[in-house]
């Protein structure tokens, strides 16, 4: 039996408990044609599609419950507040945070990290250090550079291997008594690497250094338990995990959040205001100035409920089967080089192909109804590490199929014919 057919037969077994066709019916956007062919949506790391339940939750809110939250004593405001806070509780359960006080609704992972940099980081002193990894998304690099300009901190970088794994044994050597925070991406959006966050936290905590985790690409693909990770901050984005855009969550340990100054000032985050001085609300309102993305938060709550109904473990297992199949098949295409072959990966395959620039690849694949991403994926340091300007990235979700992966691989050969 050939490697491929063996993989496929294992896959069919692995997939037997997972009814992908039924799952696909929950996502209206998947059922369309692009350039006369069925859409194969393999750009999930950029943003996922939304299930009907999320779309309907947002729709229902605007049709029936639309009002501003907190303080209002009328029926609609009470319903809106209950739904908004219900969503916070749903996300709390989903990531197993101890308390809803520790969950701040933000615009997304980017804002969550900026919040920590500008609030927690405000007290950093010149010469203090923040340790990041070579695999960080720009969202976990640039906020610290902005803080560096403001406070004079230094940024150190934990290197990675050619295989796309962190050189974790070098972490301890990077920590010093000046290290104030370690920032690590849970799952690399560009390579798919699942980083050993628990281990990073253990090492950092031995030196009493808090750890911020960029979880944008983790929560769509795996069960995340912030208590088991013991991380100090965890950031996630709604739209990556089948919820709306413009909403995300910062989880922070209560003691840290309590001690942090407000991030933005405005309505909702105060207790009392006079022109002489203001006092601030407790957690999490202290960090939620202004009217938040109420409908977005409710949609995120619905997304979490949807993920629970699908089953994170089953979905993850199915995605791993897609990943193995994609990796196996791509390896056999002449001229293709996969970037990032870590032991533990989420269902992301980044690759380059001889004589076909990723941008041309993106156009050719689109012509075949296949949506992928071409570019630097907001990880220019990773591109530089591998010496490529860009890659083509296929990122899968549990609603993708083996057939879609096969179409991708076949289209690569077509791209070679058309462009190479």
């Amino acid at each position: 039996m050939s490697v491929i057919s063996e993989e496929v037969s294992q896959g069919v077994q692995a997939a037997s408990g997972f009814d992908v066709e039924r799952v696909r019916e929950d996502f209206p956007a998947l059922a369309q044609e692009v350039n006369g062919l069925p859409l194969a949506y393999l750009d999930n790391a950029a943003t996922a599609q939304r299930p009907r339940s999320v779309i309907e939750a947002v729709d229902h809110f605007y049709r029936h419950d639309n009002a501003n939250i907190h303080r209002g004593v009328h029926a609609l405001s009470e319903r809106a507040t209950a739904s908004y806070e219900g969503a916070r509780e749903a996300v709390r359960r989903f990531i197993n945070a101890p308390s809803t006080h520790e969950l701040v609704f933000v615009r997304g992972t980017t804002e969550a990290i900026n919040l920590v940099a500008q609030s927690y980081g405000r007290r950093f002193q010149p010469g203090d250090e923040v340790v990041l990894t070579a695999m960080e998304h720009h969202a976990d690099i640039v906020p610290w550079q902005l803080l560096r300009e403001q406070t004079g901190i230094e940024i150190k970088v934990l290197p990675m291997t050619e295989q796309g794994e962190l050189e974790i044994d070098k972490l301890e050597g990077l920590l010093s008594e000046r290290t104030r925070l370690v920032g690590v991406v849970h799952v690399s959006n560009a390579l798919g690497t699942v980083n050993p966050v628990r281990e990073v936290v253990e090492i950092a905590h031995r030196h009493d250094i808090p750890v911020l985790v960029d979880g944008a690409q983790a929560t769509p693909h795996m069960r995340v338990d912030v208590q088991s990770l013991d991380c100090d901050f965890y950031c996630l984005s709604g739209h990556k995990m089948f919820g709306p855009t413009g909403v995300g969550v910062l989880y922070g340990k209560e003691a840290l959040l309590e001690d942090m100054p407000p991030y933005q000032g405005g309505g909702d985050m105060i207790r009392t205001v006079s022109f002489e001085r203001s006092t601030f609300a407790g957690l999490p309102q202290k960090f939620e100035a202004g009217t938040p993305n109420i409908a977005g938060a409710i949609g995120l709550g619905a997304a979490v409920a949807y993920l629970e109904s699908v089953g994170m473990e089953r979905a993850a297992e199915y995605e791993q089967h897609l990943l193995r199949h994609a990796t196996e098949r791509l390896r056999q295409v002449p001229g293709v080089r996969i970037l990032g072959e870590a032991q533990r990966k989420a269902a992301v395959v980044s690759f380059v192909m001889e004589d076909v620039h990723p941008h041309d690849m993106g156009t050719v694949l689109d012509h075949k109804g296949i949506a992928v991403r071409s570019g630097h994926h907001c990880t220019m340091p990773i591109m530089r590490f591998y010496g490529v300007p860009a890659t083509t990235r296929a990122s899968m979700a549990f609603y993708n199929t083996v057939e879609e992966v096969d179409r991708l691989v076949d289209a690569l050969r077509y791209a070679q014919e058309v462009v190479a």
Partner: protein, 150 residues
């Protein structure tokens, strides 16, 4: 969408495979980097001027088929032109590639006209215009060292 072969015409593929004037120029009068941050394409454009005449033009860099072919075609066409002619050509190419109703004589543009295939691929227009914007910046601001499409 039109057929892919409208975009990837044989002439474009030929220039992508064998870019013309693909070299650094030691004694360039103008040298400028063009960058498309969207896709990471980078090129260095070199111009050698004798008075008002462009006597030599070359480029280096990396990019997709469209941006390499566009730059290669540009270097072929530009040699021997005056600065004014080059500026006029920029306007015509800009019109051809970006306007909804281009008012350009495609015949007069010769083989540059084949780049018009990108019009059906809005995300790719900047690939084709990168070298032209780089040229424009080089002509207008001799001191400028880099330009982006953003």
């Amino acid at each position: 969408m039109s057929d892919l072969s409208d975009l990837y015409q044989e002439v474009i593929l030929d220039h992508k495979r064998h870019p013309r004037n693909f070299r650094a120029m030691e004694d360039a009068s103008r040298q400028i980097d063009g960058h498309n941050p969207l896709c990471g394409d980078e090129l260095q454009l070199y111009l050698k001027l004798d008075g008002d005449h462009i006597v030599d033009v070359s480029f280096q860099g990396s990019g997709c088929a469209i941006s390499v072919a566009s730059a290669s075609l540009l270097t072929e066409v530009l040699r021997g032109k005056t600065v004014q002619e080059a500026e006029h050509l920029f306007e015509e190419m800009h019109d051809l590639l970006t306007s909804d109703h281009p008012n350009v004589d495609r015949e007069a543009l010769g083989k540059l006209g084949i780049l018009s295939g990108v019009r059906d691929y809005p995300t790719r227009v900047k690939c084709a215009t990168l070298s032209w914007h780089t040229l424009k910046a080089a002509l207008e601001n001799p001191e400028q060292q880099s330009v982006t499409t953003e």
